[in-house]
Symmetry: C2
């Protein structure tokens, strides 16, 4: 059974409408007149964060990436359940707890429960941490699958800083700069999601890379997506380094992942938003991803983003 076969077997079990076929990042559950949104993320050391990342930033990321899923549903967070594995490293534990308190307070999330475990003696692999987040959403709750031919494609904020941050953090674990901060402390776009939820046709957060996530949105929606590389918003900092404006730099940014910006489609003018928004493309007939820039069509890079 390959990974895809395993996921397919889970999808076959997940027949409840609240599961949305496991095709979305959240479950959407109607309870007592309210619409609840539930999501779980597991972070693995060496995969989703670096062994050298400060523990307080690991706690931040653990909560923030799930909050980003809630943001893409326009949800207001309620609370979190956290799964934590103790080792004989009380400093790590204490710093993780500090980071957890910080991120929960920042985003108004209650710690509701969870589980604290230990590994079997002498059998330590990568650290694994889990968080389940629950939030309230308005109805109807948008999905990633509602994009239609002709819809414009937008992205919040800027793309690519976290990708540079991952490179910097790998090369110099002790150096901290704005890129590293972007990698370690993603900012879930909750306010933007709440403002957008009622007026988008499709929406998702960008975790694995703008190109791969845009392609996933197009596939889920049964359309193709055409992206103008030149339109992809880069930060001033990103543009200031090296060949910050050229095609390669833009492809790097668009495939780096860890952005946790919102990617969405709309057929109508956008409501006022509390953040930068950039139109980067359009949904068109067909399937898959097409890239272009001022020089014409751009061949797709071998890797569109993370697949983990």
């Amino acid at each position: 059974m390959k990974e895809s076969a395993f996921i397919d077997s889970l999808k076959a079990i997940a027949t409840h409408p609240a599961a949305r076929g496991l095709a979305d990042d959240c479950a959407v559950l109607e309870v007592g007149g309210e619409t609840l949104v539930l999501t779980h993320d597991t972070l693995v050391e060496g995969v989703h964060f670096l062994p050298t990342d400060p523990p307080e930033t690991v706690a931040w990321k653990l909560i923030a990436v799930s909050l980003s899923d809630l943001a893409a549903k326009g949800a207001t967070p309620i609370g979190a359940l956290v799964s934590y594995c103790l080792r004989d490293d009380p400093t790590w534990d204490a710093q993780f707890a500090d980071g957890l308190a910080q991120v929960l307070e920042t985003f108004g999330v209650a710690l509701l429960g969870g589980d604290t475990v230990r590994e079997a003696p002498g059998v330590w692999g990568c650290r694994m941490l889990g968080a389940t987040l629950i939030g309230k959403a308005g109805a109807p709750v948008p999905s990633r699958s509602g994009a239609r031919e002709g819809d414009a494609l937008f992205v919040t904020g800027t793309i690519g800083d976290a990708g540079i941050g991952l490179l910097h953090a790998r090369e110099k674990p002790l150096a901290v700069d704005a890129f590293v901060e972007a990698y370690r402390r993603p900012q879930p776009q909750l306010a933007a999601g709440q403002a957008l939820a009622g007026s988008v046709t499709a929406i998702m957060d960008i975790s694995d890379g703008l190109l791969i996530d845009a392609q996933r949105m197009a596939t889920a929606s049964g359309v193709a997506v055409m992206i103008d590389l030149d339109a992809i918003p880069l930060s001033a900092l990103y543009s200031s380094i090296g060949f910050g404006h050229d095609r390669i730099a833009r492809i790097d940014a668009a495939t780096a992942g860890d952005d946790y910006q919102l990617l969405f489609t709309s057929a109508h003018p956008l409501p006022p938003l509390p953040c930068q928004v950039t139109r980067i493309g359009q949904m068109v007939r067909g399937q898959g991803l097409q890239l272009h820039d001022r020089d014409g069509e751009v061949p797709l890079p071998t890797t569109l983003g993370w697949e983990h």
Copy 2:
């Protein structure tokens, strides 16, 4: 920071009333007109299950132990989010998926979502699996801390089979008997919990051992607990082996854990219940645990149960 200090730091964060101070096994969240119950359990290979346990029984246990927490709240399960880590072992994955389908169907639980991850290449420790369960409860939702002086102490079902099962499964991983089944496939007492929730003063499930869990209930309630070892219900199978009736056998059963029966206190006659119920003791003034049997006071064993 020791484990207790880490837990204390989480309790300091968990100020929302729904968290119940992290002193209970579930969060109890009012949403709309409904009362939701949320719990998360993480199972660690070599700690909560054996590396030789069949994967379908690991899936069963993963869901069943959280359902047991819901049972102690009198809740009706709604759904689960599952965290799973893929390795290069497609047979394990397929059998796990089969077991997951089986346990979810048996107890009417919807698979709502979750996360599937991989470890970093070459860094495999013990397997870790997580599940968040959500259910609906009536109000008020009982806790483990409401026992009062004079209340009688009861337990559902029988105690100790799973403890023997763990020994058997460790010694002969390929042998399967009723004890091993009790260890590998705990049966959450959902119907009993639903029948009891409105009439108990305190209730919890027995996961770590009858004695340690009873002591925890007494401590949380600010009373002492007095248990009659002779009253502890053993299965006919348990009594049929070796010295099944003597004091040592009863202490073994009462400290073995993995029973997932309900332990509860009441000041009044019990409602009709869909299972065997046995009165095993009483809550009294003071603190801690007192044991006795037909021969008088019983010294407390060094180990009252699991602490993990």
